[in-house]
Structure formats: structure tokens, C-alpha cells
Symmetry: C5
Subunit: 306 residues, 5 copies
């Protein structure tokens, strides 16, 4: 994610990074080249070329449909982006709630409390790495027993292995009589949600927009942009090139943004800062465990951003 001040236009209006310029450069360039060819043909062989020229009526009729499709595309991609953000927000929330419960209800068994706190942190790291097709538990691995870390990252599904560990820890506390089954239910409710959010993220990553839809939109965009110079050249003359540039840049840009934000869990400029989220969870949980130990000992660090 690129941090920027939305109130100041000048700070980012000409940024290249993250603004999709590079990604669409090829397509737009081909379009502009083609419009140059068309314009030259228009002036060089006016008689012969007239037969290829269109009035703009067709593009007006098509323009409404193409515009609506593009915005629908942007809309559904943004919904996925925002749903992904919500899922990670909820991961943070439920990890905090687990920490809150852990701090309070498992005071009588500091050892289980400590391990549960670490595995809760590990869950978010395992989720992040799984969404990026890697096998790791991140920095938290150094605080866990090497055997367990090894078992976790060599499991078929690491985050589910971690969730299993957490469930076992809570169940252990229950069997040892530290909590009753109702209090076990408080923990279980939160762990169920963590598994749901993990699954939600996997869903977004593994299900792109329907193939038929993406392909159809792209074909229509191609046809629209490549017939555009033929429709404009009669009225616009040499300006055709500029007009085609602007319209192609606008439309290909919107399409590309749709592609860019539909899977927000990668490492591109416009993706979500998953590492930061994991670190927030880790420090929130760590504070709970330390707060437990010395509730009134002040910490003068900076505010953690969620």
C-alpha cells in the first residue's frame, strides 16, 4: 500500500509507481501508433481511405455499455479489495479478543497462557505466508519450540495446523480445570472466526473474476479503442492521435486497476500491508501478556497503527 495524503493533489499527481502507467504503457502505445497510421492514411490517401472511416454514432452507442462495464469491473474489484481489508481487520480484532480473554481467564496457568499467545500471533503470520504461497511462520518462529515450528510449516495446511494447536491448548486448560466449558466456548467462538477469516482470504485469492467476463470486456475494449481513430479522424484530423491517447489511457487504466486490486494479498504497490497487520497483532498480544505481569508499568512507545 502506498501511503499518500489525499488532500494534496500535487504530492502524487505525477507519481509513476503504483499508478498503473507502466502496466498499460504497451497497450496504449500500440493504440496511439495505430491512430497515427490511421491519421496519416486519412491525409495521404483521402479517396481510398474514406471507405474505412466510421461516423462516431456507433461509439456513442457502445460507449455507454463499455463505460458501465468498466465501472462494474472497478466496483467488484474494489469490493474484493475492501472485503480482503475487512477480513484482515477482523483477524486483528479476533486476535486481540483472544489476547484479552487469554490475559484474564488463564491467569492461573501462565505457561499455557504464554504458548496460546504465541500461537495466536503465529496464526496471522501463517495465514499471510499461505496467501503468498510460502511456508513460514515469520519472526514468531524464533519464539516457538523448533519442533513445533517444523511440524507447522511442513503441514499440508500450516494455518489450520496452528489453529489445531490453539484448540488443543484451550482444551488442555479446560481439562486441567483452569476454565469451565462455557469459558472454553468464549475462546472457541474466536478461533472459529479466525478460521473463517482465513478461508475468506483464500477464497478471494483463488477466485478471480469469471473468465468469460474478463475476456469479453477486454475484447470489447480492444475493438472500441482500435476502431476509435477511424470514427474520429474525419472530424479531429491530427488531433485524433491526442484524443485516442487520452481515451485509451483512461479506459485501459480503469481496467488495469480492476485487475490490480482484485487480489490484494500480494506484494504489489497497491496491495495491503499484511506484514504490518501481522506485526500489529504480535505487539498487541505481547502487550497483553506483559500488561498481565506489570499492569501499571508505563510503556512510552509510539502508537501502534492498526
Amino acid at each position: 500500500m502506498i501511503p499518500y495524503n489525499p488532500h494534496r493533489w500535487t504530492s502524487h499527481l505525477f507519481d509513476v509507481r503504483g499508478s498503473m502507467v507502466q502496466e498499460i504503457l504497451g497497450r496504449v502505445a500500440v493504440c496511439v501508433l495505430w491512430s497515427t497510421v490511421v491519421t496519416m492514411a486519412h491525409y495521404r490517401f483521402p479517396e481510398w481511405f474514406r471507405g474505412f472511416e466510421f461516423p462516431a454514432t456507433g461509439h456513442t452507442l457502445l460507449g455507454v455499455v463499455v463505460g458501465l462495464l468498466l465501472v462494474f469491473r472497478t466496483n467488484s474489484s474494489y469490493d474484493r479489495f475492501w472485503e480482503g481489508r475487512k477480513l484482515w481487520g477482523s483477524l486483528i480484532n479476533e486476535s486481540r479478543n483472544l489476547g484479552r480473554l487469554n490475559q484474564s481467564l488463564l491467569q492461573s496457568t501462565p505457561e499455557i497462557q504464554q504458548r496460546l499467545s504465541l500461537w495466536t500471533s503465529a496464526f496471522s503470520w501463517a495465514t499471510m505466508y499461505r496467501l503468498r504461497n510460502e511456508r513460514s511462520l515469520g519472526p514468531i518462529a524464533q519464539e516457538l519450540p523448533p519442533d513445533d515450528v517444523h511440524a507447522a510449516i511442513s503441514a499440508l495446511h500450516p494455518p489450520m495446523f496452528v489453529a489445531g494447536q490453539m484448540t488443543n491448548l484451550v482444551n488442555e486448560a479446560h481439562r486441567a480445570g483452569h476454565i469451565d466449558s462455557i469459558q472454553q466456548g468464549f475462546f472457541d467462538h474466536n478461533m472459529t472466526l479466525l478460521v473463517d477469516y482465513l478461508g475468506g482470504c483464500e477464497r478471494i485469492r483463488n477466485t478471480p473474476a469469471p473468465f468469460a467476463y474478463t475476456v469479453h470486456l477486454r475484447r470489447v475494449l480492444m475493438v472500441y479503442c482500435f476502431t476509435l481513430p477511424l470514427a474520429l479522424v474525419n472530424d479531429f484530423g491530427w488531433q485524433t492521435i491526442v484524443a485516442t491517447l487520452i481515451i485509451a489511457y483512461t479506459m485501459f487504466g480503469i481496467e488495469e486497476i480492476g485487475v490490480e486490486i482484485e487480489d490484494p494479498f500480494g506484494v504489489d504497490s497497491n496491495d495491503l500491508p499484511l506484514e504490518d497487520f501481522c506485526r500489529t497483532i504480535q505487539s498487541n498480544l505481547a502487550e497483553f501478556t506483559s500488561a498481565q505481569r506489570s499492569a501499571t508499568e508505563p510503556v512510552h512507545g509510539p502508537l501502534i497503527q492498526n
Copy 2:
């Protein structure tokens, strides 16, 4: 579902499979043929044919409405597609949660634990086959007692039979004292959700877009496309044929995609990979049961994709 790389246009821009070209070929061809007839009449019998020609104003006025209706159609079909995907994602999540609970809370009764794990897997297979109007439990049938499998697939509603079996198993564990009623509640909550998701999928499959809506849109599309050459021919001449082709291809294509993705549980190219989902559930559950047995024995297989 067709896997594709949305960042590379060239990899799929000319694919035939899954891109609805074959489905709409007939309609578009008839449209183009008709526009050829119109254009020929326009040049052959200019005097007589003039009486049939329209200005394009009518199509401009109609175009906004048709475009909006098409996008509304795409929108609501996509919502169904995405809701179907969410339901299956949730099926995976709750099956995992059942496995997680099963692994931890029923350790004292490995036999019930094993059977519950298998029936949980069977639930997703039963749901998939029911959505495709078949009677089967898929590969899991080989691991269950043949009598039970027979009873399940000859039941009026196989997935509900499976859900009934799961409920009975948990209740058995409760009566035998392995879990208390609060812990039974953890299981029951998940099974309730599984039944909800099953019902959600049946709802999507059995309720197409309202008849009146589909028919009206198609009639308006037909009239729009077939009157189009009459509106364009005066300005476009022979180009009328190309313009009609492009516009008819665009519009019929969007309509067809709406139909294609509104029931995402079939076996078409753009449908959801239900078999993969069922297999994910099966392997997640199997890992829990085996993890239970040898928690630290590493598995070096590939990452399972949700």
C-alpha cells in the same frame, strides 16, 4: 473454472473455450446477415427502402436504458456467482472448524472421532452431487460402511441424511459422557451452518432471474439489434455490417455471460470447481485426524489450495 493470468492479456484474448463465443454465434450471425440484407436493399432500391430507414436518435434514447439493464443483469448474476462461491468457502471453513473441534474434544473416543470426520467429508460430496441432480457420496463412499452409504444415497435428501448422521454421532458422544452439552453446542453451531450453506446453494440453483425480467431484456435486445442496421445504414453505408457485428457481439455477449454465471454449480467452463473444494475439505479433515495421531510427523506434500 478456467485458470488464467489476469495480468497477461495475450494469454487469453483469443481463447474460444469459456468466452461465450460459441454460445452467441447463432444470434450474432443472424444479426449480421440481416444487416447485410438491409445494406444491400439500401444500395439496390434506395427510393423504396428510404421509407424503412430510421434516424439514430431512437437508439440513443433506448441505448441508455438497454445498457443499464444489461449491467444490472451482469451485476445480479455476478452477485449470485459470488454468493455461491462464498457459500462453498463457508462450507470449507465450517468443515475445518468441525475437524478442529473433533480433533481436540473427541480425543477420548477415537471411533466416533473417525466416523464424524468421514461423515463431515461426506457432507460436502453429498451437497455437490445433489446440486448436480446426482445421487452419490463421491470417493468418500469407499471409506464408509456400505449400508450407511446405501441409506444415504437412497434417502429423499442425501445431504440432510448425512447431517442427521453427524448430529447423531455428536449426540452419542454426549450421552457417553465424552463431551458436555455446552461442547455439544460448539459442534451443533457448526452443523447448523453447514445446513444453512447447503440450503443457500439449493436456493441459487433453483431460482433463476425472474422470468419476466429475462424475457423483457431479450426482447428489447432483439428489437434493438434488428432495428440497428435501419438506423445506421444511411450514415454508415457498407460499414453498417461491421458496426452491427460489433454492437451485437458486445450486447449478446454480456447477456450470455449473465446467464452463464447465474448458476455456478454446474460443470461448464465458467462454473466453480466444486470437486476441488470437496477434495480440499477431505484432505484438511484427514490431516486433522492424522495430526491427532502423530502431531510432529512432518508431511512434505504440496500446499493444498482452498
Copy 3:
């Protein structure tokens, strides 16, 4: 609901039933008649009539707004239709969940089990008849004691009476010690949801689109369609009549579909098949009770569709 195959256009493109043709015939006919009068006046009294003719600019400006309003109308009506479908789907789901629990937890008291199953079926029938302003419990009435049926259908609010009966039965089982209060909670959660869905359906039926909105849209549509011939006649000549027919048919048709599907609980062609839903619930519940008795006795009937 009219069953149709959305993949085959020819099967329904010319259907009259369910396609709103009859409903809008009057309005469209008046419009066409008026456009004939306008066109005749245009040719008969060209001098005098010129003063009444408009350019089409006004309709272009208005057309965007009218189109957007129409689609917003369709959209919100479809949302109501789909919400109604979801509510009935959830009614089916929770009735199944009640059946599932009933089968498993009340095995020790077959009499209460049987009565609860019947009253659960009765709830959906009572809801359906209430939504249609009738007093009945449908076919399930024959299986219940006549006195109870009489009390139910003469209650101020029959479905709530049924819900009360169900609550009493579960409470009776609790007081008799067949279930503890936690298990009572499983049942109560489902009954709470049934009451919520009932209320949701009543809400949709009793709250049409806001009056001001419906009236304003209709007035604007009237003015739009009736001034249309005056705007077109100069350019379109006799074609004005055809153009007015097409545009009026399109617009009045969309408006009428909005009205048709905004209350989906009636008995019109485009309404939901509530009887089928009730029968699905009844047979699902019956199977649970019989499955209870002979779990392995196969039933070779057809698959029940949800």
C-alpha cells in the same frame, strides 16, 4: 414462478404468460394511438402543427435520468424479490435444523418429537397463508388434533400461535428432563430465527416502494412517452409510430416488472412457489422422523428440490 431454460431463447421469447405484455397493453396502446394522431397532424396540418413540435434534445437530457430511475426501481424490486427468496430459503434451512435436532435430542420422548415435527411443518404453512391473507394450516392440518388446528387458525396471528406451541413443546421436554437448558437453547435459537423470517416476509409484503417515488416515476414516464412523438415526428415521419411503440414498450415494461416482483408472495406467474417450499419442508421433516425409526430402510423416491 415460471420454470424456463435460460440457455434457450426460442423456448420463451414469444411467451405471453408471465412476460407483462398483457399488463402494459393498455398504456402502450394509448401511447401508440397518440403517436398516430401526432403523425397524422404533422402531415395534415404541417403549418399549424409545427408550433407543437419539439427538438429531441430535451428527451436526451431527460432520458439519462429516466433510465437511471427505471433501473434503480428494477434494482430495488429485485432486491426485495431476492430477499423474499432468501427468507423462505432460510425458513427451509431452520426447519431442517429443527428436524435434525428433534430427531437426535428428543429420541427418548417420541410423542413430543412427533408433535414438534408436525408443528414445525405447520409453521411454514401458517406463514404462507398469512402472507396471502388466508386462515389455514394447509395439508398438515389433517395430521394435527382438530382442536389445536381450530385454535391456531382462529388466533389473531396464526404463525405466532404455532411458534408458541413449538416453544411450549420444547419447554415441556425440558421440564420432563429429556433435554437440559443448554439443549433447549439449540432449539430456541432456531425458533427465534423462524419468527424473524416470518417477520421479514410480512415486512416485504406490507411495505411497497415509497408512494412519492412510485408516483413521480410514473408521472415522468407518462410525460416522457407522450411528448416523445412531438420530439420525433419531424425526423421520423411515419416511423414515429414504430419508434414510440418500441420505447414505450421497453419503458412501461421495466416499470411493470418492478411492480410485479416487489411482492413475491402472491400467486402471480412471477411469484415464488411457496406451496412447493412448504411441501419440501414437510417431506424433509417427515423423512427425519421416519429415518429415526428405520435408519437403514432405503427410500427410492425422486430427489426433492428445495
Copy 4:
């Protein structure tokens, strides 16, 4: 709320009440007057006035944006209207569920049962009056002890006072041993929801559309409508007045409907019938209490509409 038959146009097409005609009369009249002045100037001082006339291109470009903004406004106002309706529907549902539980679980303590039933009724009345900035408990006040009524309506927040009373009653029943804490939980879940719905209604009433948005839309509408005659007069002549009337009526009407339905809890023609909702709750609850006493004694009154 104005009851009307959406299937019959003629029954309401010319209604004045509830159709926003009076509210926008002023604005539209000023617009029409101004367009008359413009048209007269156009004919009287053609040379001098030409300098003030616009082509219509600007309005075409602006028209799309204005139309979209208007529909977005309508859309978000309708969402608020519908959310308000849902909240009250849920208030009815949860009041019924409380009545259902009350009837069944508190049979052993008729006195608490009766008082809880009355306070549940009182909650909806208190909510309604609070939403209208009044202090009252409505007709239910006559059935409650005067001291309690006085305390309730003089509280800082009457509905919360009522909710507190309900909580105390249930807690009293728990302490007296009529229900255990799990059953107390059934009641508490419903009361939590009632408080949530109350807060939801207050949110809708106290938060209008963002100021910047409302003002910007209105300014743009003003500029659009007042420059319209200058853009039309050259092509439309005297018809300018009619065209301005129609377009101004359409646009100001949509804007006004948005304002009208964004706070649906007042006493305007298009607001929700809150009194009816409260009365439905009261009679539903009363029937539960009486059903309790004489379950088979038939009541032959009319069906209560939710």
C-alpha cells in the same frame, strides 16, 4: 405511509398528497418564470440576447453527472428508509420472541410474566416517542403503575429506562429460581437486540446525508436548471417554457423525494406507520399472555397486519 395499489395507475397518478408536488412548487415556479423571461428576451431583443445563449453541449456533458448524482441520492435515501423499516420489523420480531419465551418459561410466575409483557410493549412506544422528540409511553401507560410511568418518561433516555426495567424483571425471575442463567441468556439476547435496533433508529434520525453532498447537489441542480432555458431557447422557441417545466419538475422532484424518505420516522405522508407497528407488538404480546391462560379459546378478530 400512504396505502395504494401499485397495479392501478389511475388510482394515484394525479394525487397531490404525498407526491411532493407542493414541496417543489416554489422552485419549479421560479424556474418556469425565469424561462419565460428568457424566452421573451430571446424574441424581444434577439441581437442583444444572443450573447447570453449557450449551445446545449454543456448540458449534455453535465447531464450525465447530475443524473448519476440524483440517482445516488435517491438510492442512499431509500437505503435509509428501508433500513429504518427493517429495524422496526426487527423490533416487532424480537418483541414477539420475547413474548414467546415469556409465555413459556415464566409460567410459574404470572406476576413477573405480566409485567415483562407490558414493559416489552412499552419499549416500542418509548422508542417511537423518542424518535419524535416526545416523552410518552403511549396507550400502554394506562396499564403500568403510574409511578413507573412517571419515572420512565422523566428519565434522560426513556427507552433505555424501560430496557433496564425489563433486565431487572428477568434478573428477578432468575434470582427467584424460575429460570436458570442459560434461560436468562435467551431473554438477554433478545433485549440486547432491542437496544441495538433502538440505537439504529436514532442513528438514522440524527445523521442526515453529509452536508457537503446535499449542498453541492443542490447548487449544481440550481445552476443546471437556471442555465437550461439559455441553452434551449434557440432551438425550442416558446417550447422552452414547457421543456424547462418538465425537466425542473423531474429533477427537483427526485431531489425532494430523497430528502423526504431519508428520515422515515416522522409523521409525513411518506413516513413509516410507527403507531401501527407499536399496536401490532402490543396485540401480539397481549395474545401470548391470554393464549397462556386459555390456549384453545378461539378469537375471531381480523388478521393483524405486521
Copy 5:
């Protein structure tokens, strides 16, 4: 938030504060200046300048896309605004529910009751200050022990520290036998929700619209507005300046509103009145505690607005 009467146009049509006029003044002024230069060039050097002029077709084609993008922007910003409002509304609701439970269930331990009430108030203040990057507990700090306040505001994450305190208090009451674990669950459910809402607010504040999207929209807007005079000047003459002013004002205004309301937790004119919300919570909770003491002692203050 600016309070205003949406039914009276004149009361705010010319307000400067809160209407984004100042924010967009710069951009609009530059646009108008540029259009003046263009117009002067058009009249001064007609021959030479003709080569730079466009027909308006390009802007018509682009206008649909730009309009849709702007409305999509407004839409998603408004969704964030409204979600933020909902989150704070829910914060109020759950604080009230905690107060309600606290009043009733912890009557036997007035000391814990009092402290829980104060910390519940403190939670909303801590949340507000965190959203504004400050460290404070607001006015409630005066009623809490200075040491605890110091610990809270020097914690890494003050609101989570407060939530931890609340959890500990409830757990203390449980261990002391004032409530059982089921009743502890009622409290815990509410505290879980409070943490969720806090996280939701942080999510909205820390995640602006995707960078690529904001930048692309702004670039397209810039190009659109700066090429506009070239497209209009031939038809509009000196009116070009007015037309550019109106269109630029409309479009930049919509974009700016989107930016303004996408983070509604600041102290701008269009932001939410968070202090008022916190004060509502505080007074609601205070009344519960005092109502507890003297349930019938009337309070004659004004109605608190939520």
C-alpha cells in the same frame, strides 16, 4: 458535522463552511484562467489556434466514463462514512447494553459495578482519541484513579488496555461469585463487539481508497477539464469561460467530497461528532448507575440525542 434543515434550501444554499468551496477554489480558478487564455487565443489568433481546437465528441465519449467513476468514488466514500457512523452507533448500543447488564447483574458488588461503568465510558473516549492520534481518556479521566489513567494512556494501544481492564473486572466479579460463567458470557459478548467496532474504525481511518484509483481519477479529471475549453470554444465563444467554470466546479466538487467524507473521524466540518457520541455514552451509563440507586427519583433534564 454541520446541523442543517434539509427541507429548507435557502438556509444553506450559499454557505461557505463545509461546502468544499474553499478546498477546490485553487483547481477551479486555474481551470477558469486557462479557459480565458484559450478563449482569448481563439479570438486573437483564429487561424493559428484552429489547429488546437477539438470537436466535443471526445468529451461526450469520455464524459460517461468520468461521470461513472466520480459517482463510484462518491458512493464508496459515502459507504465508508456510513459504515463509520454505524460503528459508532454500535459502540453506543453495546456500551448501553453493558450498562444495562452491569446495573442488573452486579447489584451485589457496587464497587466493581461503579468501576466497570467508568471503564466502559473510558473505552469510547480512548477510541476517539486514538482515531485522532492523541493519547487521552477525555473527561472520564477525572473520575478514574490517576495511576490507572496513566497506565492506560501510556499503553501501546490505550483502548485495548481499557478493554483488558474491563475483562479483568468482569472476571473478578466471576471469581468472587457474583456472576456465574454464563452471565460472564453476556458481558464478554458485548466486550468482544466493542473491540470489533474499535478495529473497524481503525480500518476505515488507516485504509484510504487504493492509490492507483485516486490518482487515475484525478489525472483523467485534469485532462478532461483542461481540454474542455478547446472543445467548447468554437461553439461557445466567450461563454466557454462560464461553461468551464460550471463543469469544473461540479466535477472537482464531487471528487473533493469523496475525499472529505472517506475518513469521517477527524475534526472537519463534515466529520462525525465523536465527542457528542462519547458524551451520550457517558450520560447513558451514568443514568444506569444512578437509576440503580434511586429508580423512581425523576430526572427533568432534556432528552439526550444519540
